[in-house]
């Protein structure tokens, strides 16, 4: 039988932190007609493993060896459960009976329905790619990061920006992983789309609290994406055509033991620019591609080798002058950035209870700014080299206990910026910002124990260490004046490989779950996180070319203590999940910047960076309906994020050393995500989102110096831009499973910003030269997607 993997499977790897070593294969049939059933949901009770059957009814699951209850459910059919002992590879077929009364489908997530009550997950969201693809998407491009924005506790500084802010954290405080490899810039087209190809992403695990000990290195959240395992038994082709990007996926078996896929996306939005009458827009050019490949080599039943390769490349050209921060005049500027990552994983089932995973990651992030004018041609290149080797041992002595112990070592080499003349005739100077290098090592132990049905806990301890290494020159500054180039009094040179300084951090992680009733539980958690690398950017959203900085004698690692608690209640026989979570986060060495400093080419960034305290707290309410024709969620978040930078000198304090709102402090956020299945193939979806406007600084007065009106801004982030709200709708028509031909197609129609609200992206001030004589405000509102955007996407499979 032809094996296809048409729908995105959902093998939840890390959610339950359990070693997964056995596999279950099989087919789901309609019991009456004996026809294969597509889109059935197969999962393991009490665990987070699950899969959807493909168009031939087939599914695959990875589970731990031992006794399990497997269940298969499908919209319009009665759920079937089977208790079996599993080891190695197993084939289990399901025959489902039609049920007119209960039209059920697990849409939002294919986790078992009572997972939120029974697990120790606190501040964790898992979203299947299926659910994301059903959401209305801007210009028809389903995007993982955009859908993360609809989860409680997640905000962004504006539409069309790449980064996300999680529970009051900066965008660089999220660790974004794609098959264990870090993504330093998650945006395509300057934040328009994210770098994740929806065709190959299997599952998104998003930890904003209750972070297990195997994760570390960022203080806000872990956004872990797992790419699907190549599983086709015959070659197949899949793709899509949209307004912005085209996609193609080829998947198939090379030999009996090796299977692979290659998926690519390419975008061509330049035709949209050329429609403009504005010459600056006409001369704008943007394009990207990304290529993802994954190869699985099944050595034997117990050993598996997988390789994931990822390459993305973005180019962006703007007409007009160059970046004024570089002080080079140019007629057009080009930005480009690329990610090249490779991950090799060896997974070995040592025995029934012991699982070993060895992972090697090689990553390179490269960004470049350039201009090609002959006399002032320049290139500014920056690179992050990342190497990681980690070993993890999983031990499951019985069904109720799990241990994970591991070690991870990361070597960073950062080239913060090298400016070079872009041509032979260029007069631009060669300038190199010294490289930075360091090792971030961590050892951890995580223990999950379900002591009784009513009580379980998850206990983790991570010990992290960062070693800052030469070659490097460390400056010392005079004590009696603010840190700047003029107050350097001495410097110490460290040889290559010599240790400059080191930091260590003990990171406890605890989550406790107590069941009150069968369908409700209380969870309490605490975790500490350390972060040894940060992005240096004083703009509201970071540019892809903004430099990264390792912890150094002057820039101390940031760390955060987070306390969180939640109440989880399931209603109507688990059809509705509700949760209320509260958190308080205390951040040390939070970073902000001196005003008016050039960060890009400074050899001593510590003279521009300020460190202080941060605090964030909030409450997240969520109700989620998983079953029935209508599925979706509604969430409300209240949050506050403030910073306090109080240095020894007025230049080294912000807002006179008082607490001030962070750029992304948006107290109220309401999200509504709904999908209504009208017929098995047709569904309507809608998103509504509301949030308080982000804080901005308004000028209080204006003054005239040599004919130039200058606004005078006081008190940072004291005001807010107008509130934001938007409604999107979409209609998805899936392929007809009964269709006999090999070629199958589906359509997605969507409308973004249905009521065309001109949401404020920012408020800015431009005093005119004669403005002192009139009462006009000279303030403007910029809207980015200030009208309605219909779109259409065509997807095909062959």
């Amino acid at each position: 039988m032809v094996r296809k993997y048409l729908t995105l499977a959902c093998a939840f790897w890390a959610l339950n932190t359990q070693a997964q070593n056995a596999r279950v294969y099989g087919t789901v049939y309609d019991n009456a007609t004996r026809q294969p059933l597509a889109d059935a949901n197969i999962y393991v009770l009490g665990q987070s493993s699950g899969d959807n059957s493909d168009s031939t009814g087939q599914y695959t699951l990875s589970v731990t060896s031992g006794w399990h209850t497997l269940a298969a459910s499908h919209i319009g059919y009665r759920t079937k459960k089977i208790r079996v002992q599993i080891s190695g590879s197993n084939v289990i077929d399901f025959f489902l009976d039609e049920d007119d009364k209960t039209l059920e489908e697990v849409v939002v997530s294919s986790r078992p329905v009572e997972h939120n009550i029974k697990s120790t997950d606190l501040g964790v969201n898992a979203v299947g790619m299926d659910a994301i693809k059903k959401m209305p998407a801007f210009l028809g491009e389903s995007d993982l990061l955009k859908s993360v924005l609809l989860l409680p506790g997640v905000t962004s500084v504006g539409e069309g920006t790449g980064g996300v802010n999680v529970r009051g954290g900066n965008a660089d405080q999220n660790l974004i992983l794609m098959d264990d490899a870090p993504i330093f810039n998650s945006s395509h087209l300057m934040g328009f789309l994210s770098v994740f190809n929806g065709d190959v992403v299997d599952q998104l695990n998003f930890y904003k609290g209750g972070i297990p000990a195997q994760y570390g290195g960022r203080i806000s959240s872990i956004l872990e994406t797992k790419l699907k395992v190549p599983a086709a038994t015959s070659w197949k082709l899949e793709g899509g055509v949209g307004l912005i990007a085209n996609r193609l996926l080829v998947e198939g078996p090379v030999t009996k033991k090796i299977s692979l896929y290659v998926a690519g996306r390419i975008s061509y939005p330049d035709y949209l620019f050329r429609m403009s009458s504005n010459p600056d827009v006409k001369n704008t050019s943007a394009n990207f591609y990304d290529l993802t490949t994954k190869v699985e080599y099944k050595l034997n039943n117990r050993n598996r080798l997988t390789f994931t390769g990822y390459r993305s490349d973005d180019h962006f050209r703007l007409a007009g002058d160059s970046l004024s921060s570089l002080e080079i005049n140019a007629s057009s500027s080009r930005f480009s950035w690329s990610t090249t990552n490779g991950t090799l994983v060896w997974n070995s089932q040592l025995n029934k209870k012991l699982n070993l995973k060895i992972t090697g990651v090689q990553g390179l992030y490269h960004s470049m700014m350039s201009s090609r004018d002959s006399l002032t041609a320049y290139e500014l290149n920056a690179k992050i080299n990342y190497q990681n080797l980690s070993t993890e041992l999983g031990f499951s002595p019985d069904e109720r206990r799990d241990f994970i112990a591991g070690f991870s070592g990361i070597f960073y080499r950062i080239d913060p910026g090298t400016l070079s003349p872009g041509s032979g005739t260029s007069t631009v100077n060669y300038l190199k910002i010294p490289n930075q290098q360091g090792i971030e090592a961590a050892a951890y132990l995580q223990h999950d124990w379900q002591m009784t049905d009513k009580f379980s806990f998850s206990l983790g301890l991570r010990y992290s260490m960062f070693i800052n290494m030469g070659e490097q020159t460390v400056y010392s500054y005079a004590d009696d004046s603010p840190r700047n180039e003029d107050s350097i009094i001495d410097s110490v040179y460290y040889k290559k490989g010599e240790i400059v300084n080191q930091f260590t951090g003990i990171e406890p992680r605890i989550t406790v779950r107590i069941n009150i009733t069968e369908s409700s539980s209380i969870k309490v958690g605490y975790n500490r996180m350390y972060q040894y690398i940060q992005q240096v950017s004083n703009t509201t959203a970071a540019l892809p070319t903004d430099r990264w900085q390792l912890s150094s004698p002057y820039i101390r690692p940031q760390y955060a203590d987070q306390f969180s608690a939640g109440y989880f209640l399931n209603l109507s026989n688990d059809a509705i999940e509700t949760s209320a979570e509260v958190y308080y986060k205390d951040v040390r060495n939070a970073t902000d910047y001196k005003s008016g400093v050039n960060l890009l080419l400074s050899a001593a960034p510590e003279s521009a960076m300020l460190q202080g305290k941060g605090r964030a707290y909030g409450m997240e309410l969520m109700a989620k309906k998983n079953k029935g024709k209508l599925t979706g969620w509604v969430s409300y978040t209240f949050s506050q994020t403030h910073l306090k930078i109080n240095g020894n000198f007025p230049e080294e304090s912000i807002n006179h050393g008082n607490w001030y709102a962070a750029n992304y402090n948006k107290p109220h956020t309401l999200n509504l995500v709904a999908s209504y299945q009208t017929r098995p193939r047709t569904s309507f979806s809608a998103n509504f989102t509301y949030s308080t406007g982000r804080p901005v600084t308004y000028p209080q007065d204006k003054y005239l110096v040599q004919g130039v009106f200058i606004p005078n801004y006081t008190g940072r982030n004291d005001e807010r831009i107008p509130d934001y709200h938007r409604l999107d709708v979409s209609l998805t028509i899936k392929e007809n499973p009964a269709q006999k031909s090999r070629w199958k197609s589906s359509w997605v129609f969507s409308i973004y910003n249905l009521y065309g609200r001109k949401n404020a992206y920012s408020i800015f001030f431009k005093p005119r030269s004669n403005a002192i004589y009139n009462k006009k405000a000279d303030a403007y509102k910029l809207s980015v997607f200030g009208t309605i955007f219909p779109s259409i996407t065509y997807n095909f499979k062959f």
Binding site: A286, T697, I772
Partner: protein, 342 residues
């Protein structure tokens, strides 16, 4: 930083006026002063800042009873005289010297004293050449425009900071023009004396630092754009000033602020630090800057007759009435003084 535009912003951005309602402020002292190596008098303007949203009202904002002095590095202080509208002027005979440091001292009538940092007058090289490049427009009222650039050579070993401005002069034959509302004809009256009208780039900040330039040649500094509305030569004087490092960063911050177009890749606006402080209260915000500059001018007749196509439109024809004349009316738009290099 306006070019840190977003992809999306270019595609779909739309800008609408918005009233944030800022009508209150705490008035702050504003100082706008400069001393150069050119002939004086040098002016220092003192007034109180106005709320961002509001008209300034009256001259009540000007400060007319302060004691203003300029001090050089040798401790010689020169008092300035109050003229009008908050303007204080140096006495005749005072001239800034290249290489010397100057500072400004202000004492208000309530006794509070303000001092600027001492700024050194840095020598400025002359402008090598001024040249232009033609760009044709595909639509609009103009056929095209010329982008004007200058090159200069700076042999100084130190980092140098520059600022440019320009003044465009046209000779006015007629000082009075009137439109006949019946036949639409234009009638003109001669000027009583030689008269030039001029325009400056108000609100422009054009500065440069040679920190990233190798060698002594500094090429292709954009100056302005000249409309191709006539084939007559276009006369302008380009003024090049030296800036101190403090002044350069003051103008750089100001430039970031006034070019902020609201993109999220723009730097968040900040309060700009001038170079004056209250001697007794360093926390008090004092706005503005006391600049110390050396100056070079270069005048140029920019030829506009080397373009293959002729400009749009024809110059209006006037009917000169009578033999009477109208005075040139020296002021913000006209001058009777022949510009340098005319």
């Amino acid at each position: 930083m306006k070019h840190y535009c977003l992809f999306t912003l270019i595609l779909f951005g739309c800008i609408t006026p918005y009233d944030p309602g800022i009508s209150q402020n705490t008035p702050k002292l504003v100082v706008d002063g400069m001393i150069t190596d050119e002939e004086g008098p040098y002016k220092v303007v003192l007034y109180y800042s106005t709320p961002y949203n509001n008209a300034p009202g009256s001259s009540a904002n000007f400060i007319n009873n302060a004691v203003v002095t300029i001090e050089d590095e040798e401790g010689i202080s020169t008092p300035l005289r109050y003229n009008r509208s908050g303007i204080y002027e140096t006495p005749s005979g005072m001239r800034g010297m290249i290489g010397k440091s100057y500072s400004l001292k202000i004492v208000l009538d309530d006794g509070s004293e303000y001092r600027s940092t001492a700024e050194r007058m840095i020598p400025i090289p002359s402008i090598d050449t001024i040249y232009g490049e033609y760009q044709r427009f595909s639509r609009g009222f103009l056929r095209g425009e010329f982008s004007l650039f200058l090159d200069l050579t700076d042999v100084s070993e130190d980092e140098s900071y520059f600022s440019w401005n320009w003044t465009h002069y046209t000779f006015e034959k007629y000082c009075g023009l009137s439109l006949n509302s019946i036949d639409g004809s234009l009638s003109a009256t001669n000027c009583c004396e030689p008269c030039w009208s001029y325009e400056r780039c108000n609100g422009c900040i054009n500065i440069f630092s040679d920190e990233l330039v190798k060698g002594s040649k500094i090429p292709r500094i954009p100056i302005t754009k000249i409309p191709y509305d006539s084939q007559d030569p276009y006369f302008l004087i380009v003024t090049q000033r030296s800036l101190t490092k403090n002044a350069y960063y003051f103008w750089k911050d100001a430039s970031d602020l006034v070019s902020n177009a609201g993109g999220v890749f723009d730097k968040p606006p900040v309060a700009i630090k001038g170079n004056l402080v209250n001697s007794n209260d360093p926390e008090e915000q004092v706005l503005g800057f006391f600049e110390v500059s050396s100056v070079q001018h270069k005048s140029v007749y920019f030829e506009r007759d080397n373009v293959d196509e002729i400009p749009f439109g024809t110059p209006p024809t006037y009917r000169v009435v009578g033999s009477s004349c109208i005075p040139c009316d020296e002021g913000a738009y006209r001058t009777t003084v022949m510009p340098q290099g005319w």
